[in-house]
Amino acid sequence: MAYVYRFKELALKPKFLLPLIIFISLILYSFIFPQMIAINPGRWYYAPPALPPSLTYPFGTTSMGQDLFLLVPVALRNTIIISFVAALISVFIAWAVGSIAALSTYVVRAILMTLVDIICVIPGLPLLMVIFYTWRDYLTIPLIGVIMGLIGWGFPARAVYAILSSLRQRTFVYTSYFSGLTIYKIVIKDFIPFLLRYLMINIVGTMTWAIGNEVTASIFGAMKMEEATIGTIIHWAMYYQAILLGVWWWLAIPIIFLVAFVLSLYIIMVEIDKYIFARARVTWG
């Protein structure tokens, strides 16, 4: 007999609740709170420079006179938007290409998988840096995400192809066929649930990948530096020798928020996945 994992158990688990609360708070902080600010926190010298955290300035200020308490949410919002857009685009292309490759004829499959392999092999970060640096004047936050998405769909496409190829051969596909389902319905009813799990996890994974690329590119200055992102804050902090000058909060605060966001998102996804797919696990007996 199997152990049945109920939804209430998931919802009340501290391992799930805590990251969920953190995640929701971060979303509110980065998306709702900035709407309430009158000024553009990215501008320079609207606050006394290099002040440590205090009651008036909870997260301190930067050497360029920016209030971190107002700046970090905007930066986090932009980073989230970039990575989310990148994830959506990448996952969509991976899903489309991988599915078509797995479900079609030998020739189409060979062509598509060669394309996928080429995309996999392209060195992502250097290419991104070159693109961002060259066209920085035309970039907008969402566009940065789109460009990243167009470059990073290689490995997810391979995974989708592998998942669907193996699913095709499973016995339950025959049972569905003999239940009268058309191929289209079989894909929706039998394959999508498995695929959805992978795609969900992949969205989080790609977001993390995109954030990593964004931060790295920004640190090197290959980004639209006027926009506030976590990466650009770090860039400026390092450029202006924050650690040496003792302005540690300039570096620490954005990093803490970034880690909190990625970690809470990841743990939530893992717990949801465990819940949904507990029933697919074979138990003893």
Binding site: M1, Y3, E9, K13, K15, Y275, G285
Partner: protein, 337 residues
């Protein structure tokens, strides 16, 4: 002259244990797969452990073999093995590395259900043999090994190309024969075969079983044969133990068990067997084996037993000894004692 001393190679005393499993995070659950099991393996005999899936026989096999690695734990009891040089070793107290080095392959060998659990998919067959020799620190000339291999493999009915082949190039039956050759390399006194023929077909099964039989008779070693297939037990065993839901419910001489099964479960098992040339309607059992996480109170078979009495539902029956090496664990036999 001629007092026959039946030496016991292996004694299992009140062995109790199972798997500790964590599900979905914190929840801890204990699968009580082996419940107070006692068995003895005599010298030069074949002891069968019969039972259906989920009865705990594979877990018992792992414990007897000494492969007690978490989540498998032994809660109480012991397993005593008598070694070639006369020592008595308690397997459940030894460190796993010691067991690996000194016990496995040398004193007691294991033939698994799936040959790929033993064979390295990346090495040719001849290299697997050479590695085993090396691991036990035996320096042996390569040419000698090749000659030994060619002889052994032809006895097993395998063509000479097998020596240079990789495991995936051989069929399941051939791989199983290679694994048997490996396990008998150092002439262990005890061999544990865990469903050795379940994954192969009828003809290969016969070949494998006759090979094991012949080897055992020549070497005077003992064999513990675990299988859910009663025909295999009828062919191979001297004595057989019937296992249900973690308990040994009956032990006896093979002829007695088949001709006069005592425990109601054994009876149902024997009655469901299909014999050649017999088309008469057979009876099975209704229901299914209990959940080993929450087994029923008292005798674990009582929900499916046609003879269940009140005491069966509340108290676990003791093991009644009816004769030398003949035991039943059933309340029906308590007055006979």
């Amino acid at each position: 002259m001629g007092i026959e001393m039946i030496r016991d190679i292996l004694t299992v005393n009140n062995l109790d244990g199972g798997y500790e499993v964590f599900i979905g995070g914190k929840r801890r659950v204990f699968v009580h797969a082996v419940d107070n099991v006692s068995l003895t393996l005599h010298d030069n005999e074949v002891l069968g452990i019969a039972g259906e899936s989920g009865c705990g026989k594979s877990t018992l096999a792992k414990m007897i073999y000494g492969a007690i690695i978490p989540p498998l734990i032994v809660r109480s009891g012991n397993i005593s093995l008598s070694t070639k040089n006369g020592d008595i070793v308690e397997l459940n107290k030894l460190n796993i590395d010691e067991i690996r080095k000194k016990i496995w392959w040398l004193e007691i060998s294991y033939i698994p259900q799936n040959s790929m659990n033993v064979l390295n998919p990346l090495k040719r067959i001849k290299d697997q043999f050479i590695n085993i020799f090396k691991y036990h620190g035996i320096e042996i000339d390569r040419n000698e090994i090749m000659k030994y291999l060619k002889d052994t493999l032809s006895i097993l009915g395998l063509p000479p190309e097998v020596i240079n082949a990789y495991p995936h190039q051989l069929s399941g039956g051939m791989r199983q024969r290679v694994v048997i050759a490996l396990s008998l390399l150092f002439n262990p006194r005890t061999v544990l075969a865990d469903e050795p023929t379940t994954a192969v077909d009828v003809v290969t099964q016969r070949i494998i079983l006759s090979l094991i039989k012949e080897w055992r008779e020549n070497n005077k070693s003992s064999l513990i044969l675990i299988s859910h297939d009663m025909s295999v037990h009828a062919y191979m065993d001297d004595r057989v133990a019937i296992m249900y839901a973690g308990n040994i419910v009956e032990v006896g001489n093979t002829f007695d068990i088949f001709k006069e099964p005592l425990h109601p479960y054994t009876r149902a098992l024997i009655e469901s067997l299909i014999r050649k040339g017999d088309k008469s309607l057979r009876k099975g059992l209704t229901g299914q084996p209990p959940d080993l996480v929450n087994p029923p109170p008292g005798c674990r078979f009582h929900p499916r037993c046609p003879y269940a009495m009140d005491i069966c539902r509340s108290k676990e029956p003791p093991s009644i000894s009816l004769d030398k090496d003949r035991y039943v664990r059933c309340w029906l036999y308590t007055n006979i004692r």
